[in-house]
C-alpha cells in the first residue's frame, strides 16, 4: 500500500502528537482504498484529500488529548503560559506537558521551585496584567498549600473589586485516588473547590471532555480549576472528528447525557463515568435501563440536567469517589429535596461515595475504600426495588 505521492502531514494531526508515520500510513491507506473503490469520498467515514478534517475518529490517550489542548491554546494566544513543578525539562511529572518545552521554550513553559503558595500567587498576579497562566499542580493535594491564593486572591477577586479585576487563570492537576499512594496523596477536592463562588470547576471524563474542557477553561476569563485523574492519563479513548478541531470547546456548566436510559439516573463525573457505564451494561442484562449523566462541570452545576434526568426516571443514584460528608452527592440530594424534582421521585436517592476514612495503603483496603462495580449495582438495585434495603 505504499504510494510514491508525498502527502503533507496535516498540522492538526501533528499537534495531537500522533507519530508522523502513523498519519502518513493512514492517509495512504485511505487513499489507496479510495482508488480501489471509486464510490463516495466519504467511504467508511473517511474524508480525505486536503480538507481540514482529514481524519475521522482517532484513538488517543487522555494525556495526549490534554497535551493537544494545551499546545493548541498556547499557539493561539501568546499570553498563555504553563507554570508548575517539572512541567518543562522533565516533560511533566505525568508527561502531560511532554514536548511543550521543546516547542515553546523557557518563557512559556516554566519549571518552578517546590513552592506552591508562591508560584500560585505569582501566576494569579500575572493574570491581572495580560497573562493567561496555566498552573499545573503535581497533584491537587499540593494545591492545598496554595488554597488561600486560589480562593482569596483569584476566586473572590472580581466580586470584591466590584467588577474591576478579573483573573483569567487555569489551575489543573490530577485529583483524587491513584494507586497505593495512600492518605496524603489520594484526596478528592471536588467538594472543596466546587464550594466556592467565583471559581469554575470542571472534571472531565473522556478524551473529548479533556480536550474540550481544557480549551474552554483556558479561553475562559474566570479562574477555572480542572480536576483531572491520574489513572485516566494512560487510557486510550476515541476522539471524534468534531472534537479534533482546534476551536472545539465544551461549554462550562453543561452536563452530558453520556448514556440515555429510562429507569434510573446515575449522576456522576470524572473517572467514575466509566464505572457508571459499566454498571449500566450489567443492569441492561437484568432489564434495567440506566441513564448516565456526566456532569462535566461541578461549578456551575448543570441544575437543568440534574432536574431533567430526575424527573425523567424518578430514581437517582449519585456516584463519586470523594468523602461522603458534604460531598457532591449531598448537594444533589439537597437539590432534589428543595426543587419540584422531589415530586417525581419514586424512591429515595442513593449515594455511592468513597469511604469516610483517610485512604489506606494496602490494596484490598484501598479497593474497599473506593466505589466498585458491585457498590454501584447494589445502589441501583435498591433504588429500583430489585433488592430490599438492609
Amino acid at each position: 500500500l505504499r504510494s510514491t505521492t508525498h502527502y503533507e502531514i496535516p498540522k492538526r494531526a501533528l499537534s495531537l502528537h500522533i507519530p508522523d508515520h502513523f498519519v502518513t500510513d493512514l492517509i495512504m491507506f485511505a487513499s489507496a482504498l479510495r482508488t480501489a473503490l471509486p464510490t463516495s469520498r466519504r467511504f467508511a467515514g473517511l474524508s480525505i484529500q486536503g480538507s481540514k478534517r482529514t481524519l475521522a475518529t482517532v484513538e488517543l490517550s487522555v494525556r495526549d488529548a490534554i497535551n493537544a489542548a494545551l499546545d493548541e491554546e498556547m499557539e493561539r494566544d501568546d499570553g498563555v503560559y504553563i507554570i508548575g513543578e517539572e512541567v518543562a525539562q522533565y516533560q511533566g511529572a505525568y508527561k502531560v506537558t511532554k514536548g511543550l518545552y521543546q516547542k515553546y521554550g523557557d518563557k512559556r513553559v516554566i519549571d518552578t521551585p517546590i513552592t506552591e503558595m508562591g508560584f500560585t500567587g505569582l501566576a494569579i498576579g500575572s493574570s491581572f496584567k495580560g497573562c493567561r497562566p496555566i498552573v499545573e499542580f503535581m497533584t491537587i493535594n499540593f494545591a492545598m498549600q496554595a488554597i488561600d491564593q486560589i480562593v482569596n486572591s483569584a476566586a473572590k477577586q472580581y466580586y470584591m473589586s466590584g467588577g474591576t479585576l478579573s483573573c483569567p487563570i487555569v489551575f489543573r492537576g490530577p485529583n483524587g485516588n491513584s494507586a497505593g499512594v495512600a492518605a496524603q496523596h489520594s484526596q478528592c477536592f471536588a467538594s472543596w473547590y466546587s464550594h466556592c463562588p467565583g471559581l469554575k470547576v470542571v472534571m472531565p471524563y473522556d478524551c473529548e471532555d479533556y480536550k474540550g474542557l481544557t480549551k474552554a477553561a483556558i479561553r475562559d476569563e474566570n479562574p477555572v480549576m480542572i480536576l483531572e485523574h491520574e489513572l485516566m492519563y494512560g487510557v486510550t479513548m476515541p476522539l471524534s472528528d468534531e472534537a479534533q478541531d482546534k476551536d472545539f470547546v465544551i461549554p462550562i456548566g453543561k452536563a452530558k447525557t453520556q448514556l440515555e436510559g429510562t429507569d434510573v439516573s446515575v449522576i456522576t463525573f470524572g473517572k467514575n463515568v466509566g464505572l457508571a457505564l459499566e454498571a449500566a451494561e450489567v443492569m441492561a442484562t437484568k432489564g434495567v435501563s440506566v441513564e448516565v449523566i456526566n456532569l462535566r462541570s461541578l461549578r456551575p452545576l448543570d441544575l437543568d440536567a440534574i432536574l431533567a434526568t430526575a424527573k425523567k426516571t424518578g430514581r437517582v443514584v449519585t456516584l463519586e469517589s470523594g468523602w461522603p460528608q458534604n460531598g457532591i452527592g449531598a448537594e444533589i440530594a439537597a437539590i432534589l429535596m428543595e426543587t419540584d424534582a422531589f415530586n417525581y421521585l419514586d424512591a429515595p436517592m442513593e449515594r455511592v461515595t468513597g469511604a469516610d476514612i483517610p485512604m489506606p495503603y494496602a490494596l484490598e483496603l484501598e479497593n474497599a475504600a473506593l466505589p466498585q462495580l458491585s457498590d454501584v449495582i447494589a445502589a441501583i438495585e435498591r433504588t429500583t426495588y430489585r433488592k430490599l434495603a438492609a
Binding site: Y81, K107, T112, P113, T115, M117, G118, F119, T120, G121, L122, A123, I124, G125, S126, S127, F128, K129, G130, C131, D148, Q149, N152, S153, Y158, Y159, M160, S161, G162, G163, T164, L165, S166, P168, P197, G198, K200, E221, N222, G253, P300, L301, L303, D304, E338
Partner: protein, 400 residues
C-alpha cells in the same frame, strides 16, 4: 518599646531636621541633604545623598500628604460614628512612604499593598469621595460598596489592592513583576512592581518563596517592608528573631530608608527602581516608619505601647511636620500660608465626605453581579445560572 524607636532613629540620623539646604540657580528649586537616610546591604552603590526638589513639587507633596492625613482622621471619626463597618486600618504616620513611592514610580509600574491601603488607593487614581464612599458602602465607592476598607483596586492606574490576607499580596505582586517582564522586549528596561507589607508579614514563608523566584528569574520586583515597629499588637522584639528586614533576602540586595522623610523615600525608590527595572533582579526595601493609630479601629494602640512613644514620634518624626519645615526652611512658604492651605484642605476633605454621604447604597441586585466576568473588561457580567439565597424561594436565576 521606646528603645526600639531610639534604635531606629539613631541609625538613620536624617530624622534630625535638615542641616543644610542650598538654593539652586532658580529660586523655586533647592537641594536637600539626605545624609544618613539610607543603609544598604549587598550593594556596591547607594542612593544619592542629596535630592533636588522644586517648590511646586514640595507643595504638591505637602498638600497630598495632608489630604491623606485628614482623610484618615475623618475615617477615625466616621468609624466611631458607626458610619463605617468592619475593619478599618489607618495609615496616618506612614504618609511619607506612599507619597515617596508614588513620586519615584511611574503609573505603568504595578503597586500592591496590604489592607492598610486607603492612602495608596487615593494616590493611584482615587479621590477622597470614592475611598470614603467605599467605606460608607456606597454604590459609587471604589468597589461599588462590595469590597470595603481592605479591597480597593484600580486597574487603569496599575493598583492591585488592597489585600486582606497578611502576606498574600507578595506572591501576587511578584506575579505583576513577572507579567511586566513577560511583556517586555528582552534586554529593555522593564516596568517594575512593588509589594508593600508590614514587619508583621515579613516572616511569612510565601514572601521568601516569591523572593526566591524573583531572584532566579531576575524579575523587576521590589519587596517593600513598611516597618512600623508592630505587627498588630506584637512589637518586633517579640515577633522577629531577626529584624533587619532589608537583609532578609539572603543574597538579594537590600536598602533601609528613613520612611518619615518623603524626599529620602523618593530618592531611595528612584535608586531601587533603576536597579530592578534593568534586569538586576529584585531588591528588598525597608521603610522605617510609624503608625499613630492602633492596628485597626478596634485597637486603641496603647495596650502594647505607651503614649509617650506615640507622642515622641509625633513631635520629632512626623512626616507632615517634616515637609512643612522643609518648605519653610527653603524659603518656599511661610507658616501662615501652610496653615491656610491646611484649612483649605480640611474643607475640601469635608466636602468630599459629604458628597460621598449623598450617594446611594448598592441595589440589592448588585449582590448577584461580578461573580464571573464575561470578557474581562470592567463590569462585564456572566451570571451563574443559579445563585441560592437563604430562602430558597428567593434564589436568583440568570436572565437568559
Amino acid at each position: 518599646m521606646l528603645s526600639s524607636i531610639y534604635r531606629a532613629t539613631t541609625r538613620l540620623s536624617s530624622t534630625k531636621w535638615l542641616a543644610t539646604t542650598t538654593r539652586g540657580m532658580a529660586s523655586d528649586s533647592a537641594t536637600f541633604d539626605l545624609t544618613g537616610s539610607f543603609e544598604t546591604y549587598n550593594l556596591d552603590n547607594a542612593p544619592n545623598n542629596t535630592i533636588e526638589a522644586t517648590r511646586d513639587d514640595l507643595m504638591h507633596k505637602f498638600k497630598t500628604m495632608y489630604t491623606m492625613r485628614r482623610m484618615e482622621i475623618t475615617c477615625d471619626n466616621e468609624y466611631k460614628a458607626k458610619n463605617i463597618r468592619g475593619f478599618c486600618h489607618l495609615y496616618d504616620g506612614q504618609e511619607a512612604v506612599a507619597m515617596g513611592i508614588q513620586s519615584a514610580l511611574t503609573q505603568e509600574d504595578s503597586w500592591i499593598t496590604s489592607y492598610r491601603c486607603h492612602c495608596t488607593a487615593l494616590l493611584r487614581g482615587g479621590t477622597v469621595s470614592r475611598v470614603v464612599g467605599e467605606l460608607f458602602a456606597r454604590a459609587n465607592g471604589y468597589s461599588k460598596g462590595k469590597g470595603g476598607s481592605m479591597h480597593f483596586y484600580n486597574k487603569e492606574h496599575n493598583f492591585y489592592g488592597g489585600a486582606g490576607i497578611v502576606g498574600a499580596q507578595v506572591p501576587v505582586g511578584t506575579g505583576l513583576a513577572f507579567a511586566n517582564k513577560y511583556h517586555a522586549a528582552p534586554g529593555e528596561p522593564m516596568n517594575v512592581a512593588i509589594a508593600c507589607y508590614g514587619d508583621g508579614a515579613a516572616n511569612q514563608g510565601q514572601i521568601w518563596e516569591s523572593a526566591n523566584m524573583a531572584s532566579l528569574w531576575k524579575l523587576p520586583m521590589i519587596f517593600c517592608i513598611e516597618n512600623n515597629q508592630y505587627g498588630m499588637g506584637t512589637s518586633i522584639d517579640r515577633h522577629s528573631s531577626h529584624s533587619d528586614y532589608y537583609q532578609m533576602g539572603n543574597h538579594i540586595p537590600g536598602i533601609r530608608i528613613d520612611g518619615m522623610n518623603v524626599l529620602a523615600v523618593q530618592e531611595g525608590m528612584r535608586f531601587v527602581r533603576d536597579f530592578t527595572s534593568n534586569g538586576n533582579g529584585p531588591m528588598y526595601v525597608e521603610m522605617m516608619t510609624y503608625r499613630y493609630h492602633g492596628h485597626s479601629m478596634s485597637d486603641p494602640g496603647t495596650t502594647y505601647r505607651n503614649r509617650e512613644e506615640i507622642a515622641f514620634t509625633r513631635s520629632t518624626r512626623d512626616p507632615l511636620e517634616f515637609i512643612k519645615k522643609t518648605l519653610v526652611d527653603a524659603g518656599f512658604a511661610d507658616a501662615e500660608e501652610l496653615k491656610s492651605i491646611e484649612k483649605q484642605i480640611r474643607k475640601e476633605v469635608q466636602a468630599e465626605v459629604l458628597k460621598a454621604k449623598e450617594w446611594p447604597h448598592p441595589e440589592k441586585e448588585s449582590m448577584f453581579k461580578d461573580i464571573f466576568t464575561k470578557d474581562g473588561t470592567s463590569d462585564s457580567q456572566e451570571f451563574p445560572p443559579f445563585i441560592r439565597m437563604p430562602d430558597y424561594e428567593k434564589s436568583f436565576y440568570a436572565p437568559n
